[in-house]
Symmetry: D2
Subunit: 298 residues, 4 copies
């Protein structure tokens, strides 16, 4: 974990992915040193090629302290480096917290946990995230949300026009302008046009150990199958249901004594922790997506 003790100067987080090759770390760290930065934390991973003759994949995360004034110089340097070495580089300056919008459903344990962590300053070190709005199809989370001064929008579902409801969700998100959308037990499948709009910026919590028990009522599925562990999975949302790249997972032991009510209760503790971890890791720019998998620099 990155320390939360403050530093002077500005901090920059750099996420890099490219084909593997010699000298990449030297090029990145050399650039930072040369432009007056100091690396506080660096982590790197090389995924070896599975086919002979093809290059591996290189991933890196750097947190650097940058002397005032060198910000533009560093940005330009990284732009050049990215072009020269065919890298994907994203720089994130801790200027402002990310805007986080939450879509919630009738069950509010994940929503209340995220609100609480935000109040505790737990939503990501070095600026992190601010919760800027909550939308739900139920009213159950209104009091806790509004008590923290956050807007709560309710789009009820019963008997309505589904496409119109989906457009209302899209319009609300457009207005709230989130950097990250968190599905905190939002129990509806979103249309693909909306999912694509937040590609790589929409995180869901599934109350099952994916890929087992995808879809509806995972605790009922788990109970029927007689598993001895239940799980929770946080992942980026993609067009295919419960199939996006996994960020975090946990399991907990259950026994024959646990009926579905008890599994749900144990599961709530898992879901809260797993979703909060994934959100934090995303906000701290620790996650890189590689096809259906993720690299998470912890």
């Amino acid at each position: 974990m990155e320390s939360e003790i403050a530093h002077s100067g500005e901090n920059c987080r750099v996420l890099i992915s490219c084909a593997d090759g010699a000298g990449i770390i030297a090029a990145v760290s050399g650039l930072i040193a040369e432009r007056g930065g100091n690396i506080l934390d660096a982590d790197q991973h090389t995924e070896l090629a599975t086919e002979p003759g093809t290059p591996g994949l290189f991933f890196m995360r750097v947190v650097a302290e940058v002397g005032t004034g060198s910000r533009e110089s560093l940005q330009t340097g990284f732009d050049e480096l990215a072009a020269r070495l065919d890298m994907r580089i994203s720089l994130h300056w801790g200027d402002r917290p990310d805007r986080v919008a939450i879509l919630s459903g009738p069950e509010t344990h994940c929503l209340s946990d995220l609100l609480w962590r935000w109040g505790q300053g737990e939503l990501g070190g070095l600026v992190g995230g601010d919760i800027v709005g909550v939308l739900s199809n139920h009213d159950s989370g209104r009091a806790m949300t509004e008590s923290m001064g956050v807007e709560y929008a309710c789009v009820p579902e019963s008997g309505g026009d589904r496409a119109a409801q989906e457009r209302a969700v899209g319009d609300w998100l457009d207005r709230v302008r989130p950097d990250l959308v968190v599905l905190a037990r939002y129990m509806r499948v979103l249309p693909s046009w909306l999912v694509e709009r937040y590609d790589g910026r929409m995180i869901n919590i599934h109350h099952g150990f994916l890929p087992a028990f995808a879809g509806a009522r995972p605790y009922h599925q788990a109970h029927a199958r007689g598993v001895k562990l239940i799980g929770a999975t946080s992942h980026y949302v993609t067009a295919e249901l419960d199939d996006g790249p996994i960020i975090a997972q946990e399991t907990a032991h259950v026994s024959h004594r646990d009926d579905i009510v008890s599994m749900k209760r144990l599961g709530r503790d898992l879901e809260r922790v797993v979703l909060a971890r994934a959100v934090r890791q995303h906000l701290e720019r620790r996650v890189l997506v590689v096809g259906r998998r993720t690299v998470v620099f912890e």
Copy 2:
């Protein structure tokens, strides 16, 4: 855990299942007291009916110390009770260790672990199990098996007649007369006629978190899906592959740093522990099968 400090007299383990109703525990414990037994350990579970108007299911495990001479009296009493209350009751006297046959494959980590635990006296308290033979389709486990004085049979597979090989496995088991058959990373699907012969007495270890990653190459499947936990599952073998009632499961964290080689290495530690736990629980008569699920009295 049942203590392993010795008692005088004989020990009897009783496993009971029946429709729920009033007075069952009183009838069972009253019978034992009346015939001179003393209950050392009792555990009970009631599964409530999911449909109104139908009875629940009752499960019980009792370990009783029985004064010399009352064995027949107790057996008769339980026979009468079972008939009267429509119960399934099995009594297990610690007269002799169960005979355990192991089917192994080229990878020997589970085989060597079971042999080691047997040598340590870990294969079940109160008599437990004895390994009486190992059959494999490879020669890799011969030395470790024979060094412990256990027969090692090898039925090679390459180029042969599959039905003949399966008959050879069946014949070998017939000759060895096991009470329990353990598939310790035996990588072949057994024919249904053989599976049925050992119904409720054949335990497999699957190197994945079932029901996810059933079938072949589960670590490859897990790596491709990008899970953050790998698992191992021990279950009774049924005619459908990797679908039998689960006895024990565990998971372990993996990260992007773990390739398939590393997953396999971490998985070996899981598989050994999970298989040994399931075998021990079966031998100690802690497991009752309920459809696709199990009750495991720990």
Copy 3:
């Protein structure tokens, strides 16, 4: 876990401890059957004597459904049984929720978690507990407490007379009349006269893996020692600091990357879960104290 599906009739939980001997389960279950009760859940444990010639210890928990009208008959029957067999028996009828008072400190993660679980109906099945008052030496938990309609008393500490403050806490508890007192990160040592008043009814959460890191600043101690796991421990409070019988413990992995700030953050998640589990187990009458240890029927 006891199912939370409702039954007809009244429910009674019975906790029993006595010297081991033949026929105890038969006597208990026979009594219940004879007086018209039906055992829903029974768990039992015998602790064998460590010295030859002395008896072991017998512990049992029974949940029984009792036909209307048989309550007094059952109570009388158990009184007689207790006298005859020299047992300690406590009966708990689910007439009313237990009254739970919380003492909190400046950090409110455990307080807010207990309030949230209470709101969710998680504080114990079959009636369980009601939070009837919160006392703190800081004002940080006032808003969340009062928003749930619960009294919040503040006894500030700075510069005051410690004995007077302790009397104020005692007086407040006298007035609130709790069945259970929960120390939810209340960071002050209570006087022994107050601890004794709530013997076996006061639960603390310690933010360390006891017996390691007792006393002040356990995360600082853990960091200085360089442990690879941090822990949280919930225990009954006794006159000696952090020394009472342990009800629940959990650990979580840390690495060199975790400084004290990060350990505290990870620890908050442990503490919430461990304290809630212990409170729930106590309220459901699952815990029996045996000297410095506990029997917890899960």
Copy 4:
């Protein structure tokens, strides 16, 4: 985990520690690139100063593939860098496996596990370690050790001259010339002159969650205290008993049903895994000692 897929060329592992400052990563990675190396894996950690005005501590581990011929050039370059920037740098070439000597006691579960892992090729990737000798004060591990072609020396203890026995152990180690000494449940305290000789190269497994339950009979201590988790701790040996820098720890749940026999059985599974992990991490040059703590690059 470092992949075990082979590379061309030689591999070098570099461990670095120094005062923190700007440009260190650039200097290290620049040197490697310039002398024809390619970084396969790099991990870095900065420990911020706790006192203002003092520098933090910098730690780094690099695995680099080095073209044939550049070995001397790289060694010289690192020597110069270490002198210039006041760094501690150790280079480890995968020329030959480390020589591992094991001291064992009457209980052989850790010994047999290490022998088995060695046979499986699990004792560290990129060359790793070879077990070159086992010394014990009992004969219980002789057969398993000699069956793998490893020397087994027995120095019995009963009734002898303790100083003479310690000299015999020292002489044996002198002759075996280990790079690493593993205390695999060797139940004797070694004299400080011997411990100092293998400073930073001697690893012990303690069957308790240190710092709790240091010293003798930790499972008895744990049972008497009534903990709900037992643990195992692997650490470098220092002059003070059970006080050296911790490399790895794990815990497992226990309940009131687990007596000391059962705790020992569960503990054996923990001890094997924790010791093997620490040995592997040491052999792969993943561990740096910082006072009483360790940095473990996983």
